[in-house]
Symmetry: C2
Subunit: 318 residues, 2 copies
């Protein structure tokens, strides 16, 4: 070890590179355009990144010692004093319809988010051409991308489609009145986004194919109407896992751990196990809204009741 | 399980999406530009992908039953009847010098390669502005990008820098004469690339800082002069692991397995263990020429003498 470390650090005998006939190349200072395409049967599924955010770690996980949480974060080479939450939504191009699964933070997220539209456009998409936006649940980071701070509708020609139980919960003024103060802004934000188009919003039921090739799957717990989307083209299937986890490095490895952001932790735990088991058994490609970009891959069993997310192989589409 | 699988497949009750006031968005048919930036101290390190290739699996690994190899490939959700070999080289911008570590397949690789220059340009780089190309070893997929089929030098203003033992081995006409027939094309290709500029090629010794911030580290076995590059800026360090593995999903998990493409399998095994141990102990960011893009991340110990490559967190540079 000593020897190799000494070698890796170098001998300090710098030999300055002799030539430099041109100006130095400035540092780019920017990440690559952050989209990633997969072929699912005849469909193209494109992951669109919206940056990431961090939340305080203390108290984030209700039922595990913080030292264990730090260990899991360290094994993922993520910050150990915060919980890192990446954001990636998914566009499904069926060849005839352009369907968006959740919409990003819009202009209301943390300063380290907000790259969604640039990445969406870099992928060759136009918000005017989106046919439908399917919403997994009503937290701000999933719906704010549909309506900017100034009230502008971002996808003017799209059907907005939401799960009926999610709509019924959040649009219930009685529930808003009874909610703890800390939750009231979330109710108000739901009204900010949906009230101007309430009569046009389409509500779907779980277990139904709501758009050609895309089925809504019940996955409650994170919120009452939290939905996973199953995409199918021919024999190829893909599961958008939405917020079954808030950080895949933590909750895919430790599916029994419960996040403070899950409204019903136990129901969320059951939904998480059920869908991870399904994805592992069927070897379906999956995506998670809160996985490190490109946020898509496969679920591998890793011991009893634990899993890994194996990132998708980055490859040409052909 | 039965229930969830039935739900995920859907009930078959398709509700056609009603609106379609515009033409369908054509499928893109292309992957995203495939580059990825990391900040290493004051340096920017950019991974540049050159696609991937597949080789027959049979006989590729000399000392493991093929069923075990297939299991490891399956756990990585890679093809199990071939060995998948991705290609990614690295550009280091020190702020004053633009240094390329290996050059890709140029126009002499498999049909599923050849995207290197497009990705390099997409990252904002110009081949005329490269100050130095550091070559890890002389296999075609690492050197052909410096000289095209028609003889054109791709980086006309760059110093070409190679390890002295690698040069001494491949440029030795006696060694070429003694080599088995199957290896002669590799010797001839080395001459194709280097003969026109032989007098200008700079040979470096292991253990020396060869360009400001970049040290050549001995890692023989894959070839006699195979080199790892240690990049250092301030306290931040990065290791370009070159061909310590031909597929990280296999040889990082199973460092004792030996590939047929390693000229001295036992020496390669020792180099691989030494450098994986160093990277895991020091928690340095690493890249591998043959890892799935973005081909960079960290090495985590995973049991005795085994490791995982944890992909780098995709994030803004700020």
């Amino acid at each position: 070890m000593r020897l190799t470390r000494r070698i890796a650090i170098g001998t300090g005998l710098a030999a300055a590179l002799p030539l430099a006939g041109h100006a130095a190349q400035p540092l780019a200072g920017r990440q690559a355009p952050s989209f990633f395409r997969s072929k699912i049967g005849d469909f193209e599924v494109t992951a669109i990144n919206d940056g990431l955010a961090q939340r305080p770690l203390d108290g984030f996980i209700k039922n595990a010692p913080i030292e264990e949480v730090r260990k899991v974060l360290g094994d993922a080479f993520m910050a150990q004093d915060k919980i890192t939450i990446p954001f990636t939504s998914v566009v499904v191009n069926t060849g005839s319809k352009l369907i968006l699964l959740d919409s990003g933070n819009g202009d209301l997220g943390a300063p380290t988010t907000g790259s969604w539209m640039a990445n969406f456009r870099a992928a060759g998409f136009d918000p005017d051409k989106v046919d439908a936006v399917l919403i997994s649940h009503f937290h701000g980071d999933h719906i704010n991308g549909t309506r900017l701070k100034d009230g502008k509708a971002v996808f003017p020609n799209a059907e907005i489609m939401v799960s009926a139980p999610e709509w019924d919960f959040w649009m219930d003024d009685g529930k808003m009145a009874q909610a703890p103060e800390g939750m009231k802004p979330a109710f108000q934000n739901v009204r900010r986004v949906f009230a101007p188009m309430a009569k046009d919003v389409k509500r779907f039921d779980w277990g139904k194919e709501i758009v050609s090739g895309i089925t809504a799957v019940a996955a409650p717990g994170h919120t009452p109407g939290h939905t996973v989307f199953a995409v199918q083209s021919g024999n190829a299937r893909f599961l958008m896992m939405s917020d079954l986890t808030n950080n895949t490095a933590v909750f895919v490895r430790k599916p029994d751990w419960q996040a403070i952001v899950d409204m019903d932790g136990e129901v969320a735990r059951q939904s998480r196990h059920r869908m991870l088991d399904l994805a592992a058994s069927e070897k379906m490609q999956v995506a998670f809204y809160h996985a490190p970009f490109p946020a898509t891959g496969h679920i591998l069993r890793d011991g009893a009741g634990a899993y890994q997310l194996v990132p998708a192989l980055w490859q040409p589409l052909g």
